[in-house]
Symmetry: C2
Subunit: 219 residues, 2 copies
Amino acid sequence: VELTELGDAEVTDVLFACKARVLDLRNDQRFRYILLFKNHGSAAGATLEHSHSQVIALPITPRQVADEIEGARRHHDHRERCIFCDIVGQERKDRSRLVYENEEFVVFAPWAPRSPFETWILPKRHESNFEAEPRERLAFAAQALRSTLRRLNSALGRPAYNYMVHTNPLRDASSPSYHWHIEVVPALTQVAGFEWASGFYINPVPPEEAAEFLRKAAV
Amino acid sequence: VELTELGDAEVTDVLFACKARVLDLRNDQRFRYILLFKNHGSAAGATLEHSHSQVIALPITPRQVADEIEGARRHHDHRERCIFCDIVGQERKDRSRLVYENEEFVVFAPWAPRSPFETWILPKRHESNFEAEPRERLAFAAQALRSTLRRLNSALGRPAYNYMVHTNPLRDASSPSYHWHIEVVPALTQVAGFEWASGFYINPVPPEEAAEFLRKAAV
C-alpha cells in the first residue's frame, strides 16, 4: 500500500505520528533538529520496498534550513513581515503557480524550483513549528499532501519523489519570520557536474507550466 | 574513446583547449564565471554517448564557489595563509588521505567528502586562476587527472563520474586566499530526501579507506 492509496484520515494519522515522534525526540537535549522526509521509489533513493517515512534527529540545524531562516530573517528585518506569508498571499492572488488550496493550506510551484514539478505546501496561517500544529490542522495538511502526490502520480505516471518537512529548530520559540512547510520534489532530473560545481539547478520546466499541469490533473 | 584511454599528452590538450575557451569567453563582459565540468556515464547525468567535457559561461559566481571563496577569505583573515595551501601541506604530511602526487599536483580524498571516493586535485603552488596556468603545468594537472580517473576505473569497475574545475571568478585578480582545483565525484550514491532537506550528504566510506583503495589501485 502506498501513501497515495490511503484516505485523508489515514494520511492525517501519518502526520500525527510524525508530530508525536518530534515531541518525544525533542526531550533529548543532544538534538537540535528533527528532519522528517520520505523517499518514494528507487530513483528517489528509497532502499526499502514497503512504503515508509523517515525521521532523522540531528545535533545541528541543517544548512538548507539555516539558509532559509537567514533569508527569512533578512526579509523580516526589512519589511517586518514573514516572507512565507507574503509568498502565500502573492501566489493566491496571482494564481498562475497555484496547484491546490483548502481552508488551511496552499499548494504551489515555487518561483525558482530546483526540479521540474517541485511543489510546496504551506500553512496559510503563520506557524513556525510543525509540531505545534493541532490534529485538526494536520488533517488539512494531510488533504493537501495527498492531493499533491495524487496529482503528481496522475500527471507524471507515478514518479519517484522525495518530500521533506522544513520547520523551526527544536526549542526555538515560535519565530515571526520562519514558517514551516513541506517541499515535494519528484525525481525527474539528475544531479550532475553543473549542479555539483555550482550549487545551481537546471530546470527545463517553468513553474507556471508545471502548476497548470498539476491543477488539471485528475485526483 | 574515453578520456582515460588517451595518453598524458592528449589529456594535456583537453585541459589546454579548456583554458583557450576560458581565455576567449572572458572577453565577453557579460560573463562573470566560466564553469568547466565533465559528466561521464548516464548515472552521472551524461546525455551524449561520446566522450565530452562541458563549458558553461555564467553572469554570476556560482553559489558553491562563492561559499568556498568566503570560507577561504575567513581563514586568510585569521591566519594570513591560503587554506588550500594549508590543506596541501597537511595532506602531504599526514599521507592517510593521499592518493597520488607528482612534481606540481597533489591528489587526495578530502576530509569531509560529500560522496564515497570523492577526490580532489590541487596544484601544489598557489594559483587562483586555472586559466593562468602555463601548458607545462597543465601537463602535470593532466597526469594527475588521468591517474585519478584510471584509479577510480580500476578500483570501482568503471563508475560514472563528474569532475568540475573550481577557479577564481573572471577578471578577479589573483587572490592570496583562493586556489583553483579539480573535484572528482563518482556517481555511487543518490541525492535523496535527506540531502534535499538538509544540504548535508550521507557518505558511508571514510576518506582514509577510499584513499587507501585508490593508492593501491592498478593504473
